[in-house]
């Protein structure tokens, strides 16, 4: 009867391959060499694509986009645990995962160049596209998980959100729905310690995002987000749990956004270079590369070959995409009307005709709107 403590679930922290490349052998997950190489390849592919897009953006050949460099580990080491008929509900820094799931590089390039076509998941890929309104996708993931339960299959959903996203009401509702309905969802939080300029300490007053799992009666764990093995292991446990019908889990992956928020952000305004430099040293890629090398799974020579192959792959994709950017099929603005509903209402048909007529009388050349120069009003984030 007197004052007593309520027992709380345990929240864990996990690191396996630490920032100095030291391995905790006991905790090391067993991943076959093919798998290890595959993970590394997609992380590298994502990294190089991101870098190429940055160059293109600077040259006016790509729109503003949120860089994913530094987040490949979280995306790749988690998504690697699911199957083709499972579901992937990303936010917008899961480039590695999208590529691994089967999105062509061209789609990525199309998307960040302002074409809806780039948001269409390829046939047979159970992914939702990039989601811009923060945290809203988490409810879609929860809903897919609820539907999986209705179907009585053992599929799972892997979904992603940022530290900033955790402040949105939708994040709370998604975690709550998933837990109440025991939906097979793994909630992956990319805690990169910034939401544009707002640091973690202004975003929340609790120590970890993982501990929010206590509010939903689900397991919560914080892992080193630059440690492929730790992310993999935590996600693996969560996926298995979800498949067993035990419901959702929350995995907080602690990392740092070493890049600007997007190509138009200037982080110098709100944080010091030193802070960033410190974290650059913790990058997952060299750490993982060293591990693979030491393990004999991917010696340096092989890795350099991979670099070359990836370079070629990206070049080819860019070429292909840039042809598409100019194609009539993709540029014809009249298509903007064609996908609103399965059927077109007479009033919408009239509006379409109105625009067709406009282009006819005006003879406007809409074939290359890409060339329009950037207006000086573009946002800085």
């Amino acid at each position: 009867m007197p004052r007593k403590s309520i027992e709380l679930p345990k929240i864990e922290y996990l690191s396996i391959l630490n920032e100095n490349g030291e391995l905790d052998k006991e905790l090391e997950p067993k991943i076959d060499p093919k798998g290890l190489i595959e993970m590394y390849r997609y992380m590298l592919l994502a990294r190089r694509t991101d870098e190429r897009m940055l160059l293109m953006q600077r040259q006016g050949r790509c729109g503003t986009f949120p860089q994913s460099s530094g987040h490949e580990c979280i995306s790749m080491a988690s998504i690697f645990n699911i199957n083709k008929d499972d579901w992937h509900v990303p936010a917008y820094r899961e480039l590695a995962g999208l590529l691994w799931r089967g999105w062509p590089l061209e789609s990525i390039l199309l998307y960040w160049n302002g074409f809806e076509e780039g948001a269409a998941p390829p046939e047979g890929v159970n992914d939702l596209p990039v989601c811009v309104p923060i945290a809203s996708q988490l409810l879609h993931a929860a809903g897919i998980g609820m539907a999986i339960n209705m179907e009585k299959t053992e599929k799972v959903v892997m979904t992603y959100f940022g530290d900033g996203a955790s402040s949105e009401g939708d994040c709370h509702e998604a975690l709550n729905f998933a837990s109440v309905f025991k939906a097979p969802v793994v909630f992956m939080c990319l805690n990169n310690q910034y939401a544009i300029s707002v640091p973690l300490s202004r975003q929340m007053a609790c120590e970890t995002i993982a501990q929010r799992a206590v509010a939903y009666g689900m397991p919560g764990i914080r892992v080193d987000g630059n440690d492929v093995l730790a992310v993999y292991q935590a996600a693996k446990e969560a996926v298995e749990r979800a498949r067993r019908g035990e419901g959702p889990s929350l995995i907080e992956c602690l990392t740092y956004r070493v890049t600007p928020h997007t190509t138009s952000d200037d982080p110098k305004r709100y944080r010091s270079d030193e802070e960033t430099k410190e974290w650059v040293l913790k990058d997952a890629l060299p750490r993982f590369a060293k591990y693979l090398d030491q393990k004999g799974v991917l010696p340096e020579a092989k890795r350099l070959e991979m670099e070359e192959e990836i370079d070629k792959t990206i070049k080819a994709a860019v070429q292909k995409a840039e042809v598409m950017f100019q194609s009539d099929e993709l540029l014809n603005p009249l298509h903007m009307f064609d996908y609103l509903f399965a059927d077109m209402s007479p009033a919408l048909q009239e509006q379409r005709d109105e625009l067709a007529e406009h282009f006819k009388t005006k003879g406007k050349d809409w074939t290359n709107p890409q060339k329009k120069e950037k207006t000086p009003a573009s946002p800085r984030a």
Partner: protein, 326 residues
């Protein structure tokens, strides 16, 4: 044929839809054992069980957001938002996602779902329980909006909404739930979304309305005929979006006069859109300005004064006479 009220007709449609398609599920606050605060989901939980008739946590964005995920997955969720005054909580999910997935994925992902909500005043309800903001949805590209006015079209429209491959807002005029009964055929029927109905032919003036306001409109038309010898043509929009321009303008071309009646606030409401389309298509046939009989540009007052806010037969009559004597 069976006689029933609108509440029962909607319930029947849900029952039928769940019976013929096991992808149809019902979800919302208190839709399960409680059978909905208006008893619209009566018998569903007993018949189809908790897997398909789902009581959710109290979170509207959660309801619509998870339904979007389910719909993409392949289910046909029919969500109940307890009162339309609370669907603002989930508007961002509808605008940013339900309305857009097909478009932004070029048809690859679609969201066949229905959001049902009782709307409108007249039942002496609490604050925030009498709103009528269908215009917001009509102004949201990617959503269809239908509003029945009687038991028979309620059932048929709900079937159409559930079968539609895209998201549909289905607003239920709660004041009509148990106001009157109508014959509803044995066999399931649907009504095409996007089509209005001429519920009474006439030659002198066109009265355009939908939902709960149809009652006032019909009553006014009767008086017009009896007392003034005026033959009003009555258009029941049924579909708020897409709006059936053709039926509206054909009628106005014939009559040259129109009154538009709805409960929602006036500014940027549905009547404004109807007038804009009349202006675009048949301006030169107009013998008088089209008159709006609508809710005022204030929140619907709390129930001691709501009757004065709502369109009633007298207001419609007055507007019609004004139009006729212009």
């Amino acid at each position: 044929m069976a006689e029933m009220n609108m509440a029962k007709a909607i319930n029947l449609a849900l029952f039928e839809a769940m019976t013929r398609d096991d992808k149809v599920i019902v979800m919302g606050e208190d839709v399960g054992p409680d059978e909905g605060v208006f008893r619209i989901t009566e018998g569903l939980f007993a018949k189809f069980g908790g897997d398909r008739v789902i009581d959710t946590p109290l979170a509207e964005s959660g309801i619509i957001g998870t339904a979007i995920g389910m719909a993409i997955f392949g289910m046909r969720p029919v969500c109940e938002i307890q009162f339309s005054g609370f669907d603002y909580y989930n508007y961002h999910q509808l605008e940013s996602h339900a309305a857009r997935f097909r478009n932004r994925t070029r048809g690859r992902l679609t969201v066949p779902m229905v959001m049902r909500a009782p709307y409108g005043g007249g039942i002496r309800a609490l604050e925030h329980h009498s709103e009528s903001r269908e215009a917001i949805y009509a102004h949201t590209p990617g959503l269809k909006v239908v509003i029945p006015s009687g038991p028979r079209n309620a059932r048929a429209l709900l079937h159409a909404a559930i079968q539609d491959p895209d998201p549909v807002i289905y607003y239920e005029p709660k004041a009509c739930y148990r106001l009157f009964r109508e014959d509803v055929p044995e066999t399931m029927e649907t009504l095409p979304i996007g089509k209005a109905q001429i519920v009474k032919q006439g030659t002198d003036i066109t009265l355009i309305s939908y939902g709960a306001s149809m009652r006032a409109t019909l009553e006014a038309a009767e008086t017009l005929e009896e007392d003034d010898g005026v033959k009003a043509e009555i258009v029941d929009l049924l579909s708020i979006c897409p709006l059936d321009t053709e039926t509206i303008v054909n009628s106005v071309r014939k009559t040259g006069r129109a009154v538009v009646v709805h409960e929602g606030p006036r500014t940027c409401g549905l009547a404004a859109e109807v007038i804009a389309r009349i202006n675009e298509k048949v301006l030169m046939f107009l013998e008088a300005p089209v008159v709006r009989v609508t809710g005022f540009d204030i929140p619907i007052p709390y129930f001691s004064k709501e009757q004065a806010y709502l369109p009633d037969a007298e207001k419609v009559l007055k507007a019609a006479r004004e139009t006729l004597s212009f």
